[in-house]
Subunit: 256 residues, 2 copies
C-alpha cells in the first residue's frame, strides 16, 4: 500500500496568516499522498461575538445551538476551509475542501443529552472512505473541516481530533496511514515545564505505566487515548508534535 | 454520451427554507447525472449588514473588498453550500459542495480595474473538468458555490450564471449537457406583464429578431447572450424557466 500522511492542526495555527502560511508551506512539501484536518474555534468565537451570540463551552466543547451551528458552518466550512484550499492550490497541492456531509463522508449522530445538552454536536457513526481514497490516489489533497452531518439534513459540529482519528482509521484499508496530531508542545513531555523533555516513543503499555506514575495526566489523557485507538484501528504510526515540527515529526512523540 | 442536467438557481430560492426544500426535492428527482449551481447574495448582504459592512452594488454586481470577500466566502462556500449539501444527502443525492478553488476546478483572474474597481471579483479563465466529470460519472452530485480562485492563494467572488455556463461548456466534452437557468419568470416572455406569454423556443436568429423588435430587452439580454454562448460552447440545450417549474422545464423557454 502507498503511504498517506494525515495532519491535524488546531484552530490557532490556521487562523493567523503567518503561522498558517508556514504550516501550509511545510504541509505542501510532505512527500506522497496527504490530507489535512483543521480546527477554527477562535474564528468561530470571534464571529459569534460580532453577531452578539455568546459562546458557551463545557469541558472545552462548544455548546452548539441553531445560531452557533450557522456560525461554525460558515467559519469552518467556508472561511477557514476555503482560505486553506486557495493557499494550498497556490503551493501546487490540489486541495479539495470537505465537510463530513460532502459525498456523505462522515455521518454522525447528534450527541444524546445526558448531563449537558451540547446541541448540534455530532458523534461520528460512519466514515465512507471509498470515494475519498479514490481522489487521494489521483493526487487530490483533501482538507477536512470539523463538521459532519446527520443524514437527515442537518450539519453537526464535530471535534477535529475525532475527525482526524476516524478518517485515519477508515483510510487504513486503502493506505499505510501516518497521522500527525499537532498541538502546542513539541511532543508528550516527561515534565510539563520542560519543553525539551519529549518522550520519543510510546507503546500502550509504556503509556499506561506513565499514567500510573502520574507523569502523563490531564489534557494529554483523552488525546493519547484517541491516538492509541487510531493505532489499534489500523494506522501505522501516530505522531504527537507541534505544527512547527511538521517537517521533522520524528522530533516529537511517536505511538506505534 | 450520458446525459447531465445542470441547474442554476439564484439566491432568493435557496435562502428561504420552504422554497429551498421544494427546489431540492424537485432537483433530487431529476433522472440521471446532475449538478447544482447556487447564488446566495441576500444572505451575504444580511451577514455583511450584521457585521457593519456596507454592501455596494454596481450594475447588480457586488463590490468585493477584503472584508466582503470574507463574508461571501463564509456565506456562499459555507452556510448556503453546506446547508444544500446536507439536505440533498437526506434526499439520497450524494452531494459534494465545491468552490472553484477545490480541485482547482475554476481558476479566474481578478477583474481588471476600468471604470469600476470591483475588488476581489473573478472573471473565469479556465475550468478543469476532468476530476469533476469522474465524480459525476460515479454518481456524485456537485453543488457549486459562486466562488473561484486566482491560483495565487486568494478566493474570488464570481457570478453564478457565469459559473453555470462555463461549467456546462467544459462538461460538454464528457456528457450531453442540459443547462436549466432558473429565474423569477416561467420563461422568456413576449410581454413582460403577461406571465403566460412564454416564448417556447428560441434560436439565435429568432432571438436577434426579437431584440430588433425590442420584444426582448433589458436584463434578459445578458442572460440570453450568456445562454447562447453555452449552446455554442457545446451544451445540447439551455432552458430558461422558474425554479418552481424544475420538474417540467419544457414549460419554459428552450434554446438550442
Amino acid at each position: 500500500m502507498e503511504k498517506l500522511t494525515i495532519v491535524k492542526v488546531g484552530g490557532k495555527i490556521v487562523e493567523e496568516e503567518d503561522s498558517l502560511d508556514a504550516l501550509l508551506n511545510d504541509f505542501s512539501k510532505i512527500k506522497g499522498f496527504k490530507l489535512l484536518v483543521h480546527g477554527g474555534g477562535r474564528s468561530a468565537t470571534k464571529l459569534a461575538s460580532q453577531l452578539g451570540i455568546e459562546s458557551k463551552m463545557v469541558g472545552g466543547r462548544r455548546i452548539t445551538d441553531a445560531e452557533t451551528l450557522r456560525v461554525v458552518t460558515m467559519v469552518y466550512g467556508g472561511l477557514v476551509n476555503k482560505n486553506i484550499v486557495a493557499r494550498l492550490q497556490s503551493m501546487n497541492a490540489n486541495a479539495l475542501g470537505l465537510t463530513g456531509a460532502d459525498m456523505n463522508l462522515i455521518r454522525s449522530v447528534k450527541r444524546p443529552v445526558k448531563d449537558v445538552d451540547y446541541g448540534f454536536v455530532g458523534d461520528v457513526e460512519k466514515v465512507n472512505a471509498e470515494l475519498l481514497a479514490d481522489l487521494i490516489a489521483k493526487g487530490v489533497v483533501p482538507v477536512l473541516a470539523p463538521l459532519t452531518h446527520d443524514g437527515h439534513g442537518s450539519m453537526l459540529n464535530t471535534n477535529a481530533d475525532t475527525i482526524a482519528g476516524e478518517t485515519a482509521k477508515a483510510l487504513s484499508s486503502f493506505f499505510d496511514v501516518t497521522l500527525i496530531f499537532c498541538f502546542e508542545k513539541r511532543g508528550v513531555l516527561m515534565d510539563a515545564n520542560d519543553d525539551d523533555s519529549v518522550i520519543p516513543s510510546l507503546t500502550r503499555s509504556e503509556y499506561e505505566a506513565y499514567v500510573k506514575k502520574e507523569i502523563i495526566k490531564g489534557g494529554m489523557l483523552p488525546k493519547l487515548e484517541n491516538a492509541f485507538k487510531v493505532i489499534e484501528g489500523g494506522a501505522k504510526k501516530v505522531f504527537i508534535t507541534s505544527a512547527s515540527a511538521l517537517s521533522d515529526p520524528e522530533s516529537g512523540t511517536v505511538l506505534q
